[in-house]
Amino acid sequence: MDIFNGLMQGFSVALTPMNLGMCFLGCFLGTVVGVLPGLGPPATIAMLLPLTFKMDPTGAMIMLAGIYYGAKYGGSTTSILLNVPGETSSVVTCLDGYQMARNGRAGAALGISAIASFVAGTIGTVLLMLVAPPLAKLTLAFSAPEYFALMVLGLTMVVLLAGDSLTKALLSMMVGLWIASMGTDLFTATSRFTFGQTELLGGIEFVIVAIGIFAVGEVMSNMEPEKPLDMLPVPKGLKNLLPTWQDMKDCKYAFLNGSLIGFFIGILPGAGATISSFLSYGIEKSYSKHPEKFGTGVIEGVAAPEGANNADTAGAMVPLLTLGIPGSGTTAILLAALVLWGFKPGPLFIEESPALFWGLVASMYIGNVVLLILNLPLVALFAQLLKMPGYVMYPLILGVSIIGVYTSDSSIFQLSLLVLFGLVGYVMRKLDFPTAPLVLGLVLGDSMEKALRQALMMSQGHLSILFRPIPAVLLCIAAFLLIVPLFKKFNSARVQMIDAEA
């Protein structure tokens, strides 16, 4: 199927009343979680995932993806009005966005942020549509050794960019691999790490770990006493939210920079939206005629990072859908969702499930329009959410978490695991252990072990099969990435980038 026909099929799927409704719901929820600091897309998607099991998978995926990219739109509102990022990827927007709001230009900052997000989100979706099908064809020749090497490379990149301590990131990944090993080994029917509990014979469901670590852990971390918020006002009327023509002219390169940097960084596992927004801000500043003004309320300083963090979501869909390799905690949950619904993300995904792939792509175009509409005239309404007290929000999150886990298996035992993983998530946050490598280790652990064992079965136990050209190159890159932090210069640059994110 060519791109045009695929897209037409996609729009016929995405424009059904049900899927349009799911797209709107996802974008709305995404904006809400983006605006609220302390509640991110991974927690929201993990909590809502079990509730989608009875839904049509295409509509459910459209909704969950809407939450993912919608949160990027909402995150900027908090950065601009409160100087607190609603999402980690909106950190850079605080630099110039908050200064613009203090200078009386909150409307222009909110407006350009929504427009940049729309432009970059749309360009990112065009690039996803162009890049994903040929990449999937290219990887059709991959078999077990290549997949194993690809997963090792993906995990290595996530580990490399996940936290300022490489040791902690690696340990976090090892714990994820351990949890993935629990249950009955499908090759030999041996029970592993079940502690004599029959409930663990089927392994631990990913949803429980994700909800525990992201949602319960997040609530526990936010339990510290609340500080009063000092929010700048949102200008009234759509006219006051629209940037001037001069603002738009000033931002034309920022739109392009944000779109391209965001998309291509998004493709790399582990790099993520925060890094792409920092990079695009840095590039915008370097090529600006007035770099000294950055940080004082320059409109390009808002447009570039906001564009980048939206194009990033389209980029992140490329390895997720064509290789089955997620690059972050959120995409790991989306991968788990696809697998739970019975899909196989990978080179054959586009061919085997064209309605889902193209429906999702088409819904991203629609979603960007919906988000532009939601985030321009209704931004004042969303800003009111910031006044919602924590004591109202936290019990709601815990309640949805309990229902989400119970719905997946109707078992009280699984609820006790939720409590346990909530504690694990909190302790990890407190001790600065990154959570993304654990979640990715858990999602990829089972497939990685299967791929390795299948590869070694093919070669009757000889490791030489991993030294075929493609796996050898991928494993060498992974080894190189693990070795380079030993060189001080590289490691200090890596840590600086991660510290800026923190």
């Binding site: 509730l51 301590s165 040791t167 902690k168 690696l170 340990l171 090892m174 714990v175 691999l177 351990w178 090993s181 080994d185 090759f187 030999t188 041996t190 592993r192 790490f193 319960v216 609530v219 526990m220 971390s221 339990m223 510290e224 006493p225 007290p389 924590g390 004591y391 109202v392 936290y394 019990p395 709601l396 815990l398 309640g399 309990i402 229902i403 119970y406 719905t407 109707s410 009280i412 609820l415 006790s416 939720l418 409590v419 909530g422 504690l423 909190y426 302790v427 407190k430 001790l431 600065d432 252990f433 072990e449 390795l452 064992r453 299948q454 070694l456 079965m457 009757q460 136990g461």
Partner: protein, 153 residues
């Protein structure tokens, strides 16, 4: 007490080393290689061994760097609120099989609002009852999902 024993990394490293040793000892009892290829012990033995080495490196790093400024020291006073919330959730889950979701969730909401956030009882009760009924209406009636049911209620 040495400074490093007050650091979270030291204890986390020791706990993870213990977990790694447990993984290796379990994997040792399973087949490493079978006639058809790697056995169930193959993968855990490798990542378990790497886990032991890395966690010992974390412990060694904490001890050798014994600089008070270099790492975060655990402050138990900061943990108290979070652990109280966690304990409340654990109790909520423990009693759910007796009293069902609505009552246990109502109690959890009341505890968080009235005890932890020190809001007036009227507010706490209103949110607790409203929240429990709202959840029941949305999930049980609206989405037709099965909520946890207790033996008593």
């Amino acid at each position: 007490m040495n400074t490093f024993t007050r650091k979270g990394d030291f204890w986390a490293g020791l706990a993870l080393a213990a977990l790694g040793i447990y993984i290796v000892s379990q994997a040792w009892g399973w087949n490493y290689m079978t006639e058809e290829g790697p056995g169930p012990g193959f993968f855990p033995l490798w990542y378990g061994s790497v886990m032991v080495l890395l966690s010992l490196a974390l412990v060694a790093g904490t001890v050798l760097k014994n600089d008070p400024k270099s790492q975060k020291v655990l402050r138990w006073s900061e943990l108290r609120r979070a652990m109280t919330c966690w304990a409340a959730l654990a109790v909520c889950v423990a009693i759910i099989k007796y009293v069902g979701f609505m009552i246990s969730f109502g109690l959890l909401t009341w505890f968080i609002i009235a005890i932890m956030f020190k809001r007036p009882q009227k507010v706490a009760l209103a949110y607790a009852i409203g929240g429990a009924v709202g959840f029941y209406a949305l999930f049980s009636w609206g989405l037709e999902l099965q909520l946890p049911v207790g033996t008593l209620f």
